[in-house]
Each structure stands twice: as C-alpha cells, then as structure tokens.
Amino acid sequence: CTDFEELNTPDNELIADNLESSQLGQAFAQSQFVGMYGNPGAAPGAFQLSQSLYSDIYAQYFATTATTFDSDQYVEIGRWTNGAWNYFYGSAAPQLEFVEDFTTEQGMEVENAVARVWRVQLYHRMTDYFGPIIYSEFGNGETSVAYDSQEEVYNNFFAVLDSAVTVLEANTGQNAFGNNDQVFEGSVDQWLTFANSLRLRLAMRVRYVSPDLAQTEAEKAVAAGVMQSNADNATLLTTPNSRNPYTTITDWGEFRMSSAMESTLEGYEDPRMGKYFSQAVDGDADGDGSPYEGMRNGLPVSQKDQSALNAAYSDMGVDWLNDSRGGTNPRIRIMSSAEAYFLRAEGALLGWAMNGSAQELYEQGIRMSLMERTDASSSAIDAYVAGNDTPISPDDVWDTPAMTDIPVAFDTGGSMERKLEQIITQKWLALYPNSKEAWAEFRRTGYPKLYPRINSLNPDIPVTGDFQRLTFVEDEYADNREAVMNAIELLGGEDENTIKLWWDAKPEN
C-alpha cells in the first residue's frame, strides 16, 4: 500500500510550513523582482498591465501606437488594472509578508529591517496609483480585508522607516540576504542610504497636504544621509530569467516616444536623447533636423495606423531592446542620486535644511543624471546645465507647440513655480523610464507641463484634463465588496478616475 500522506505531497515543491531560513533569501528575492515588475518570465504581462499601459503614457514618456490601447485616451480598462492589482497582492506581497513574519519569529532583526524598507518601496507605488489600499490588514486570511486611507498608509511608511533605520544604523557593515538581494547584494549601509532617500521622496510627496510633516521628514532624511553619488543608486538586478520587461515590451511595437519627450530633449539638445530613444525608422521625416521623433498621446483609433506610426516615431533606446537587436537587458531603476538632489532642491526652494541651495542641488541633480546616463564630457555637462535653449515645437501633423518655455539654466530670478517647474521637469527627464514616480510627481506638482491628449474617450476627463488615479478593481468589488465600499468613503464617496489622491493638494493659483 502507498503512504497516502507522502503521495499527497508534491515532489517538486516545498511545504510552506517547513521552510527554513536558508530558503528565505529566495522568497525575499521574489518579492523584490515580482514586486517591482510582476512576473519574471518572457511575457511581462504584469508590467504591461500595471505600468506600461498607465503611468508610462500618463507621464508622457511614451504614446501608444496600438489601436486597442484606449488607456491613452483616458479609458481605464478594468481588466488590465485588475491584473496589476492581483499581480502585486497575489504574487509579490505574500512573499514579503512571509519574510517579515519569519524574520520576526526567528529574531532576524537586520533582514527584517531590510524587508520593511522594501515594503515601503513597494506599497508607496500601489497607494500612489489607487489612493486607499490594502496595507495594514494584508494577509489577515479573512474573506474581507479592510483598506487603509492614503494618509494612514503614508504615516505608517514614516514610522516603518524610523524603526528600520534604527536597526540598520545599529548594524552598519553587516549583510542581509547576501546575493539574494538583487538591489544591494545585502549591504546594510546601502540599504540605510536608500531608506533615507525613500523617506525624502515620500516626505516631498506630502508637501502640499501636510507641510509640517513633509519638512520634518525631509530634514530628518537629509540629516541621516541620502544618496549623493551614483554609487548609491538603487537598481534591481536583471538576469536572462528575470528580464527587464522593456526588452520584451519593445518587441511588441506598441509604444513610441511621446511628443513631450521630443519637445524637451530635442529643445535642450539633451545628450540623453540618443540613450533614451532610437532614431525613427523613417528618419527625419518631418524635416526638423532630427531623426528622433515623438508622437502625441491619445490618438483616436482612426489615426492609429500602427505600422506607419511605429516607423515614423522613435522606439526606446537600444539598451531596452531585445538582445537580438542589441539590447543589454539593463538593470531596473528604483531610485537614483539625481532624484535625491532634485528632491533636496525642491526642499531648499522652500527654505528647508537641505544642506545646499536650490540651484546647487538642482544643478547637481542634472550632473548626476548626465553622468549616470551618458558619457558626456564634464564640459558638455557644464554647457548643458547652463543652457538657455527651451523646448521646441515637434513640428508635427498636430501642429504641436513647444511643451513649455523653461530652459535648463536655473532661473534664479524666476518665480517659485517657475523654479519648481524646472526642478520637476529635469527630475522627469532623469527618472526615465520610472514613470510611476514621474506620474505621481506630475499629479502632485502639475509639472512638467505635459501636452493635452489628442482625443479622450472618457466622458469625465476632457483632453486637457488629468487622469488622477485608478479605480478599485473588479475582483475587489466581487470578492471584497464591503471593504471596497468603505474605501470609497475614505476617498470621499466616489470611485472615479477624476478623484484626487490625498497628497494631491497643491493649491490652485
């Protein structure tokens, strides 16, 4: 007779109850990769659903050429976001929760602190999409899981960072997770710098809704030490089996450079242009002297001749293309020193203790980005920083004007808003293609001054209007209805794309 227990236990899987600490690193690794970019395999569906079809085009890094991608016309496709939500909560969050619980039980303090910093990194991207999210109640094992308001979630982020930083500071020089950690190979020192930088990012996010909290947290972060050189940058390892999703997405021929990118990069004669984008297949068809071409967002189906558009406009730079087309499967960007400088520049603008002036920090941010992304000489970088060129008109079939009139050179005599526009616009250029952060900052500040859509299919949002958030997903309405209804109350009573998030509170001027 067969042993029924043994027969009913799969040979090729581990039993969750029996996992050992030596297997913990692989669980953390999973939460790192899947948490950022969904499934690691060849078909980056999760990335497409959660980022490519939303923030990538709402931050106007790209415009879509595929006829059926109506999100570029402000239509939220519920099934897409449903997938995005499920990939995060179903595939990434349980592993992170498991790591946090396991390290708590086993007294693995350092690993626990690292995992908690990572938790903030993952969840802030979720709340910045939806507003209220499942956060503190995650993993309750119940048939109803309550949402937390965005304010509660952000408050908790700061508290979590406090406790994690305390542990990390006490353990500098140590290592957690070894090379299972795909970001810093386990370096506690680097995790500490990242934790502080993340605090700075989140602090600035709540600047308009909670100025005091913002200042306190931002100053705390800078005092504790944020990223200062590109060696501090946080990026995620890619391997042949856990690829940068753009290397596949670009094969699908669904996105091209946006007009906003063309207007600024070309206007500034930005050395990043050739890194960020490829020359259009049709070359300089519009005769503006540059073979890099951008298209407008929100084209109606009738104007979407996909193959013609793909040939006329610029694909991503060669790094992000498939290996067979010269791609390098680049590491995935999480945060860079350039971003930290731009955040400090904004704080300095407000008179916060940022350890530098707004102009110094702004210019340092640009330098960091150019050093990181290009091989421009220092003189070329100096020239760029001092440049007085402004964005150009893409000279296209839509008679698109220049996106804005700001130069790179910091407008010391300009208004606070003009300086802010410069800082955020340069940050937007530096963040590419981390559109989740760029879109959040666009919503918070209104910068860069992105183009209106050519067409909107969303009756609630005109072409000049803004898409503010994603609505709660179908599966949650079906499986977690009561909690969603409460979450809608947290949001103010309506679950719409037009509802501003809690931190989106910049006064209208």
Partner: protein
Amino acid sequence: QKVRKGANSLDNSKAISSVASLSTPVDAVPTFSFSFKEVPLKDALQEVAEKGRMKLLFNHSLVLTDDNKLTMELRNVNLREAFEQTLSQSNLDFIVSGNGYIIIVPKLVTQTINVQQEDISGTVSDAQSGDPLPGVNVLLKGTTTGTSTESDGNFELTVPSLQDTLIFSFIGYQTQEVPLNGRSTLEINLQPQAIAGDEVVVTAFGLERETQSLTYSTQSVENEQLTEARELNVVNSLSGEVAGLQINQAGTGVGGSSRVVLRGNRSITGSSQPLYVVDGVPIRGEVSDLNPDNIQSMNVLKGPNAAALYGSAAQNGAIVITTKKGQQGEVDFSLSSNFMFRDPILLTDYQNQYGQGNGGVYSASSEFNYGPEMNGQMVEHWSPNPENDSQEYEFLPQPNNVSDAFQTGYNSSTNLSASMGSENVQALFSYTFTDAEGVVPNNALERHNISARVNSQLTDKLSLDSKLSYMRQVIDNELPTGENFANPIRHIYRMPRNVRTADAKVFEYTNVSGANRQHFWNPGSNGGANPYWTMNRNLNENTRNRVIALASLTYDFTDYLRLMVRASYDGENGEYNIKRYNDTYIIADNGYYEIGQSSGLEWNGDFLLSYDQDLTQDWSLEANVGGNIKQQRNSAINSNTNNALTIPNFFTISNTQNVVSNESVGSPVDVYSLYAFGQIAWQDAIFLDVTGRNDWSSTLPADNRSYFYPSVGLSTDLTELIPELPELFSYAQLRGSWAKVGNSAPPFMTQRTASLSAGGNNGFLQLSTTLPNERLKPEETESFEVGLDLRFLDDRLGLDVTYYNTHTRDQLFQVAVPVGSGASSFFTNGGDVSNKGYEVLLSATPVQTPDFNWDLKMNFSANENMVEEISEDQPRLTITTDFLRAFRIEEGEPYGQVYSRGFERVTKEDSEHFGKVIVGSDGIPEITSGLTVPVANFTPDWRGGIRSTFSYKNLSLSFLIDHRQGGSVVSLTNAILYYNGLTTQTLQGRDGGLVFGDNIFGGEPAVVQTGGTEDDPVYSENTTSINAEQLWTSIGGRNTPVGEAFVEDATNTRLRELKIGYSLPQSMIGRLPISGLKISLVGRNLLFLHRASNNIDPDLMTGTNAAAEGFESFTPPSSRTFGANINIDF
C-alpha cells in the same frame, strides 16, 4: 434502446460478463437432476436453463399462457434431455443457439395432408446486417405445419398451395407474414425488434442486466451507428440520440475533444463530465482514441443511480463501452472502409461593399473595413515587400477571400478484423487506420488502432478474458482556440474585404537584409496576422501513444458462486512541439520553439465475488462483494526557448540564450474501495437493488479519508404483476431508485506549498496562492429517479418516461478571497447544485409490412438546473474572466451565468424611463464599467431528437434531426468582426443616420440626459445620429466589448445525420467469396434547419471545460461530413 439482432449478436447475455462460453454444452456429459412438483412450466424451464448456465429466450405469450403445472422427476440427464423431458407434455419445442441460448418455440407438427403438395425453399436474413439467421420459425399460417431455418438461414418446406401464407418469427425480430403469391423461393429479411424487458444492457462492472430488472434509466447505441455514420471522436455519435445528453465539440480542428454532460452541470468547478468505462474498467484518457470498429455498444448510464458502483468518478453518470469479442466458429474476416468529406459551413454574413480603412478613407495597413466603397478604383497595394513599392491594384470586394482559406477535408478509415474461435478459445484481432484532414489546411490527423482480444476457457471452472489495445495518433496543427493569436481562424475571419486571396497566399517575403518576413497588411500588428502565415508558419505537432490492457480471470466454485479477479491498465505517453517562425509579431517576433512530453496512467485491480441463486420458487438472489485499488499517476515536462531563437527558424531547444523548463508532477491519486451490491427478485417481476461502497482516498485528510455511499432501487414488471392489464399493453415497467455518490478532492489540497522558479541570482520562491484546508471532506451527489416504460400493440409503440432530481452538495471548490488576505483562494466544501428534469423516449413502428418498414424514435429531455447554494461567504463564484465576460456560478440562478459589460440604464424605478439605455450627448450608448450585467446562460430549456428509419427489402434510409431550444451564448467573434466592420450588420449607417434605440438596437429605447442634476437627471428620447463606425468601434472589439450587444440565442435545429444503406441480398453474393456486403451513403451535420444565432454555430465551444459554455470565440466553422461506407464479411 438496445435492439437485439439475432443469434450472431446474442453473445453477451449472461448475468456476468464473459460467461457465454461457460454455458454447459447441451449434450455434455455432466448430468443434472431435477425435481419438479406443481411447478409452472416457465419456472421449470428457467431452472433447467440456469443449472446449465444457459439463457432462456421465449415469447411471453407462448409460455405464460401455459397453465399446466409440471410434476416430474429427472435423474442424471444432460441438458438436452432435461429440456426435452420438461417440454414433453407441452406443445413447445426448443432450439439451441450457439452462444448459450435456449430458444423456446412452438412445436412444429409436420402433418401429412392428402392434398396437392408444393415444395418451397428460401433464405432468412437480418434486414440490417444482411447476416443469415438460423433458427427462425417458419410456420404455415393457420396450421401447426412448419420448420426452422438451418445455420445458413436456409429452409425448405412443403405446403399445400403456393397461395398460402407463411409466418416467419424469431426472437428479437418482428414477425412477418409473407403470402407466397405463387413463389416457391423466398428471400426474407427480418427487422430487428426490441423485446420489452428482455434487452440486455451492460451496467456497472461489465454486468449485463435485462432492462426489466433495471431500476434506473439507460440508453445505448450500437456498433453500426458508430461505424457507419462515423465520427472521428466516437462519442460525437451520441449527439441527438440520447435523451438528457449534451455534446459540444471544442474548436481545435480534427481530433478535437468534446464536452459531454448528462442531465446538466452539477459540479461547481469540476468538469461535470461522465466517466468512461470500457469492458468494466474506467479509462483515464480521451475517449476519442477508441476505435469505433471495436465497440460493440455504448450504453449511457445517465445518473449517479446507474453508476453508484463506480464510485467517485461516476457521479456525473457513466458511458459504458463494451468492445467486441471473438466468436466461436470459423474464421470470420471483415473489411470495412469509410470515407467522408468534410466541408466547412461558413455562417458569417460578410459585407462586400466597404474595404480597408477608417472614416471612409482607404488605408493599406488598416485592419478595419470602414474605408471607402469598393468600386474598382486603383489603390496603393498593402504589401510591405519593398519589391511591391508603389504598386496599385483594383479596389474590389473579394467575397470569397474567407472561404478560399478553407479546404474540403476528409475522414477516412479502414478496418480489418478477424474473429475465430473454438469452443474453448475465441479471439478477435482488429486493426483500423484512420486519417483525416480538417477544413483548415495543414490540420491533419493520423491514427492507428490495433487490438487483440482472447477469451478462453482454461479449465472447466476457470476462464480468462484478456485484451490488449494500442493506439498511436499524430495530429498536425491542432488549432489553438479562441482569440489566441496563433489561431488561424482568428485571422481568416478578419480578412479585410478587399484583400485578394492570391495576394494573401504569398505569406512571406525576404527583406533587403535577407531576413524572412511575414507578408501582412499591418506589419507588427498586435493581434493581426496573415492567415496563411499562421497556417504555415505557426506549427504544432501532437503525438500520443496509448495502451489499454486487461486480464480477467473467473473461477466458478459452483454454478452459483464465482470469483473474478482482474487487472487493467490504461496508459499513455504524449509529446508535442510548437514552432513559430520569426516575425510572428508579438507572440514570436524572434521565433519560438517549445517541446513537451507527458505521461499518465491508471491501474485498476479488482476482485468480485458473485453469488447468484434461486432461493425459492419465487425468490432469487444475486449478491456480490468486490474491491478495487485504483492508482492514477501523471507527469509532464516541457521546455521552450523563451522569446528568442538565436539562429532564426532553426527549431531546437538549445538555439536560445534562455531555455525555460517546467516540470509537473501531475495529480497522483490512490483510491481503495470495498463494495457490495445485490438484487433480490420476486417472480421475475419485482427487483430490489441495493448497493454500498466505501472509498479511501489519498487526497483527503486522514480523518475524512474514508467515506461510504449507498443506493437502493426497485423495478417492477407490471405485465407480470398485473395479469388484468389490458391487451393493449405488451409491456409495462415501473422503476425508481435513490443513490448517493461521494467524490474525493484533487491532490495537494491539504498543505500549502511553495515553488521555486528561475530568476535573480539563486531563484525565486513563491508560496502557493490557494490556502490549504485540513478539514476537507468528500463531496456528494444525491439522486432520485423514477421511470415508467410502456409498450403497446405488440411493441409497435413504446413510451419511456423518466423523472430525476439530483443535488450535488458539499462540493469542493476554491473560494476566492480578496488577494489582500494573503492568498487568492481557499479550498472548501459547500454548495448545492440541483438538476431535475424529464426524459421521454418514444418509439413507434407506424408501418410494418414484409417489405417495408418505418421506425421512429424520438427523445426529449428538459433539465432544470439551479445553483441552490454556494457558501455563506460567497453567494457568487467567478470561475473565469476574460476580456468579454466573466463566467460565474451564482445562487438562485442556473449554472453558468455569463456576465459582461452592458448598456447603462436608467435605474430610478419611479422614472418613466426606467430601464431605458442611457446614451451620451455624442449619441453613443454609455457602457457599464465592469462585467456587471448578466447577459447569457447556455443552459437549454429542452433538447430533442428524432430518428426515422425506413427500410424496404435490403434498402434502408434513416435520418436524425436534433433540436436544442433555448440558452444563449455571447460571441467574441461577433464583437470583433462588427468592430472591424466586416459583417453585413455593419453596413447600415455607414454615412451616419444611426440613432441608437430607434433604427439600430430598436428594441432598446434610449434616452439622453438633457438636464437636471447628477442625482436627479432629466432625460429625453435619444435623437442623436451616429455612423456605423462610431457605434461598432465603441461597443465591439477585443478589450472592452459590450457583451450585451453580442448575445446570440443558441436555439437551433439541425439535420444531424442522413444515411442510405443497401445490403446485397444473399442471392447476389452467393457466388462471391464473401458472406455479406453492405454499402451505405452517410452524411453528418448536414445543415441547419433552423438557427437563431447570427454568424456563428452556438454549439461549438473553445474548450471542453464548464467555463467554455455560453462563450463563442473564433471557433472553426461548423463542418458537414458526407461520404460512403462499405462493409464486407468474408
């Protein structure tokens, strides 16, 4: 109902399988003793027959009316003597048939009458098979003069006049009166006829039962029906024939599977499909592998009552297949050949007015058909091949470009079989070669079936039944289903109306850098492709080898106690590969290769101890105790090249930088069972059945591992019980039964697992998203049924009615929990799905003459399906979701609610506009944001079929019409074809003028908000006009189609089968070295007599799982098959 066809097919009639050869030869030495005291003759005969393990066949009226009570002492007689003695005081005689049958017939007295004598002679044959019939009674009407036919069916008789009339009668056949009309040689064809109560059907464990003792409803289909009008998948032959059975074919091309459901869906997340049992043993794999030539009969046990004894697996009913055995006698060769053409029935109404483009403007790369009218103007050629740069062509409709992409396929099969046997050993060998081509080019099948069966009587008491069958099948280019980008159907159906076949057929070209590229009007399209590219450059091959083996030993301890032990194996190995050439856009821009292998097996070990004895004169008992060990194992591995081949179009797994491999350990299950069943019969008129079975399943937690389930049934033969029944009734049976069937869980549900996958430096570990349940218990189906089987006017008219009611409770399913709970679902018990309904079978023989016969069989079934309960937490379960629909199980609704987007409607009940569609100021209806509107449910109201058979002498004609009433499907094909402007329905309003709710969707009055506030809107009638492109691109398409606009009524009536058969009369083949020849012309699925749906065949599905119901998505066209069948017996 089973029709008995004369001595040649009367081989399976004993109560226990394979015992026909066990019957004691009538003249054998072993002798018997009997003591009869005041015993009715019938009972005495029965006793003699049973002692000799013979089967008694007689006409009730003949024997029952004999009131004589017999008192007789017989000592040491053999069976022949026993029968002779027993019948000596009656006017009856007996005939010994070769297969353990004793047939009681009237005694024929040859009288010498002093008048003119005429010698006549003739042959009697089976009208259907053409086989000669031995032992047929030939009686001179009005006398007791007669004879019976010899083994070759011939007879000779001397009659007073050639104006006399002869009566031919034989058990299992309609009696014929034949006036001689001056003839002295006759060729008589007897029509097989069902004999009330005496039909033998095969039930659980290969057990054969007479229908009069069955306490539940069954229906069977014979070999001829399976082989003549042949289907590639034998189970499809049941379409329209069996009440309560629903068959839907999956759209995967030739060799595809079918979804079979008996008496409605009952499993919330399981398959609801029946168990297939071959020669008493459940099989694990595809039923389509079985060779129809080898199948003696298929018997459908419809409910759990019938199948209680197979346990868990049979809660959805069982289809019991009996394969052929060798026959005692000379070597009998037969050759049959069947060839059928397969022709697509294209149902889509394509428009042929507007070509590629949008907004009335031509675009060479458009996948839409909202361009200008096609009037022959010269337009830019779509070809991306630089050689064709600046070419132009005439812009004209290409009405046949879709049909050009299909071909006439065929099915062909050839069977050679040989049967031979001595008294102790009988063997059957059979080989069939089948090949087929689908209507989509390159979709083909090749199948070999080889089998050998040997039955042997090893000793007086020990017999062996052994069987080995081997099947090898290769399918080329099975069609991926639905909106899969590799499904050529998707691309064929979407051909723009102006694209010329000749241009599209050039599916590839070499570009300037020497690379092979796809030749398509919209290069790089997300979801579009040249259909010829897909057919020729997206290839797959699927090979399956399968072995079914069985060995069964039976030992007779005494004539009433026997033991059977049996081992059986059903195992298969499969392998497949998928090749996609580079430039297959988003699914394989840089080429793709995948290979996989799988294996699976099921072992069954059984024993069965049987006791069968008359307890008293009135009471008889049959009791059985058995046990079973079932082991199921399967596994699979596959590898693919991920998203890039290094060297283009060189298909090997190492030709990549990144191999991805997967391993599956499958679903290992062991079930151990003990069971007992028995039947007590009183006077062969009342039968009481009781069964009980206990299973121990490896998949359940230790505490719930063991579970018991019983059944009980009662059948009464009213004709025997109530002698006062009017003459009108030739047979009347009332039956009823109750059963409960348990079912265990899938494996691995009691522990949470974690899996490893590639990624990062050392791999990724992921916890399973389904939470385990340590308290799982078995699910159960409880079923009740009653039935009445009535025959009138000498069985010329028959009515069989069954009512059933089943509840499937404690079902095992996953309850979705919010993913935020840390898992996506947990496994639980709960729910209650009920099915109740009627099945009616009506059979009639309106015309019955010696030469001409008309038989009618009708079946009707209506099933009411209801999800009574799911669980306290979840009144609704979502089984699957895609772009068009969500498939849900919902309390208080029939199984399988299909939800989709719908039109926003006025929801204020006190509004005069309540329920009307809200249209935006742009004239386009507003759409619900999610899949919130129930739009379709596949459950039919009723189904029915009529088979009508006409036979004239050796010629027969029969047709089958089958009808489905009610139920609906939502069509993604329509949503996309309308969106692309391809169908005639999109012609209206090309230049505008469509007013929603008025001249389009006129049945949906529409309003537009003209004032008021959001909470208190003021509406007025919609008058805004839009054009067809605006409308269909808003509500159709792939990503956010409005399912409510694309619901199709599934009601349809079709001519399922038509066949004409001709058996060459003996006189014609007498000089040929053959003993029989039959030719038939057959057609299947010939045409729709009625179809309520637009553009699609509602009965074709994307797959065979429950969630495929009510959803249509790029299934290949329905196809008609027609051809010829020839059968030669040597």
